[in-house]
Amino acid sequence: MGDHGPAQGFGRWLFTTNHKDIGSMYLWFSFAMFLMGGVFALVIRAELFQPGLQLVEPEFFNQMTTMHGLVMVFGAVMPAFVGLANWLIPMMVGAPDMALPRMNNWSFWILPFAFALLTSTLFMEGGGPNFGWTFYAPLSTTYAPPSVTYFIFAVHIMGASSIMGSINIIATILNMRAPGMTLMKMPLFVWTWLITAYLLIAVMPVLAGCVTMMLMDIHFGTSFFNAAGGGDPVLFQHVFWFFGHPEVYIMILPAFGIVSAIIPTFARKPLFGYASMVYATASIAFLSFIVWAHHMFTVGMPIAGELFFMYATMLIAVPTGVKVFNWITTMFRGSMSFETPMLFSIAFVILFTIGGFSGLMLAIAPADFQYHDTYFVVAHFHYVLVPGAIFSIFAAVYYWLPKWCGNMYDERLGKAHFWLSFVGLNVTFFPMHFVGLAGMPRRIPDYALQFADFNQIASMGAFLFGFSQVFFLFIVIKTIRGGKQATDEVWENPEGLEWTIPSPAPYHTFSTPPAVK
């Protein structure tokens, strides 16, 4: 291989097998999807700015809620984490590249096609998917618009991409670690991704089975989910959430890894309880498989089922608590400074914990009868996903961008981005707890008058948050184009092999494996 650089022109990106190129493509793609999903969210918030129907009709509103969810989950958060994995895992374990570089190329390049299929449905007769990102049957089968078939194939392609990405990550981590890099010496980001990849391999085929059964019901006369034909609409929910609950941990475990890398650097103190962090992550992954029906407390399960899923769900608070306590103890008696990655990480710990509290409340089945399918749920999962997944991705970009492009970002601009996002996020999502508890159902385009005030506040916060992300794009481009030259270490004594290579990271790194003590 030697030291040759990348190929020139578009071919470089189309044919590349380089983990850094593919990582960058994943990250740019996910950011584009983030903006698109954000525009969908702003359509929702604009319509909900006041009671009555002003901007869009209910059918289109339902398409917006559905597409917002699908694009954010499958287009923004997951590809962003895969992008980070591509960039970082080989550099963190001292490998020259991913284990399966050609498959790596393929798993990225099918994604744009999946999302082209999905978004094209918005322009079709009958409109795009309008049944919510959870696409409960029979609303998504017998009563779906014709475009649902495009949705099904798009989900299939996204699933294939995720499975290939996971296989690649597992193969890389298990086979390509530098000599001396034992499993329990791996950075936590590598650990959390290893566990995430297993979750993905376990549940993506379940999702594929779920949408395939839909396809059969719609086109081939089966009745998997059709009660009139002897099928079972509740079966759909069991299958979907058996995928769906691990999926939410897929979107948060890599975030745990990122924060576990950043907090020690800026607390200037080693991570507290490394081993317990690994075990806690594994426990959360295991529990994620046995709690799925807490999304279904109101379907009328037998009481034994309700109790089992309530207890199992409450249990998740234990390993999650361990993680939060470990992060805080890492800060305790450290020597802290508050650069942008640290600000995002601290906000992550606080706001994710608040999302965890509302999650614990939702786990209590009798109380969930009041919370279920209200804005309280919307507030809950946005509190774990936005300051959870999204903030951790921002933190990761600020933290590793100097390594990737060789330039420091502008600290003042980064902090401004943080505070705008932080304020925007809380103004948007905190009032949703209130309207949810006061009785506002989710996924409605219009609402009773008593919910008007908090909805107006939430809508204003949403626009603030949305436009802050355009500012983020500006900061990133500005950093790539120039700025203060970053040192090889970038930060003060950061831990990890990626800081031992030059900034910017050369096109090929660790062609000879480093020695790990």
Partner: protein
Amino acid sequence: MLFFSKRPIVKSLSSVKPFVVFPLLALSFQAFAKSSEVIEGEAQRWATNMTQGVTATSHEVYDLHMLIFMICVWIGVVVFGVMFYSMIMHRKSAGAVPSKFHESTLVELAWTIIPAIILVAMAVPATSTLIKIYDTSDADIDIKVVGYQWKWQYEYLGEDVSFFSNLTTPQDEIYGRAPKGEHYLLEVDEPVVIPINKKVRFLITANDVIHAWWVPALAVKRDAIPGYINDVWTIVDEPGIYRGQCAELCGKAHGFMPIVVHAMDEVDYQQWLDAKKVEAEELKLAMSQSFSMDELYARGEKVYQTNCVACHGPTGAGGVGPSLIGSSITTGPMGGHLSLMINGVQGSAMQAFGEQLNNIDMAAVITYKRNAWGNNMGDMLQPVDVLNHKRSL
């Protein structure tokens, strides 16, 4: 502009309401003040917490909710307290020197075991409440609740009383052409009536997609699933009108199928029930009568405004559904029109109204559609014709 259907755009451009994003932000305070006027006098504004409700169960659920919430608050105070203490006291800029400790099995064990104990303390009251909620035995009254796109049907089992409950908020209020009333989107033509201090069991199912029947004041929410019958119960303490909404996304008008429960004294309830029975008797008699064109037309207009207007529009010009003006159905053969109304159109939003409308309403609405908006077919349908047609199917 493909995304936005015509009516709201026209409306938003013709009023001061901003269409694009920036003016929306800029005018937010103006709009804020404006919509505040609309909802003047509404007692529930700025509500931030769950209702305590009007049943023993709802009180228990509220107490449980507050208990868990307060435990979370106190955990938060301690955890975030330590965190902010560190952030203030252990700053590099304040000259803090980092410690090197990074492990302690004892501490790890403590913060695994203590939360587990707190969880058990939470699980005990949660379990006892859940067991009570699940005890649906020995009900005094059984009411079957069926979710339809987008209305609720209530059937008093063993009483021969059954009716649909439709949203009554006018389209003009929804589209901002008229001021919004106090119970905007939470008002129906026929509330479900129950007596207080009696155990009422609701048997909940659905006819098409999954809905969810939710009345916050009763702390009752249960999915209405085709092919399943879920049972829930309530005993309401005080007379009153309690409002709720469908809580499971069920399509276009998911936000427009409210639930209104009217709880009244036993005596009043019995009177109401007797009146409903008489009404049902009269309806049966009327089924065999003939009506004049004017009677059918007037009745049909009402039925149309309740059941058809959401898709076919107030003037029959269409919307989500096709236009009915001069269409091949409304100006085609009567038999075809009737069959389509009874059976619906498979794979479309056009429902089968054969089970939803009684024969008089069916005859009336078909007569109306064939003679309104310049269709002027001049023909009409009698209830007995509908009956005969159904029998021949």
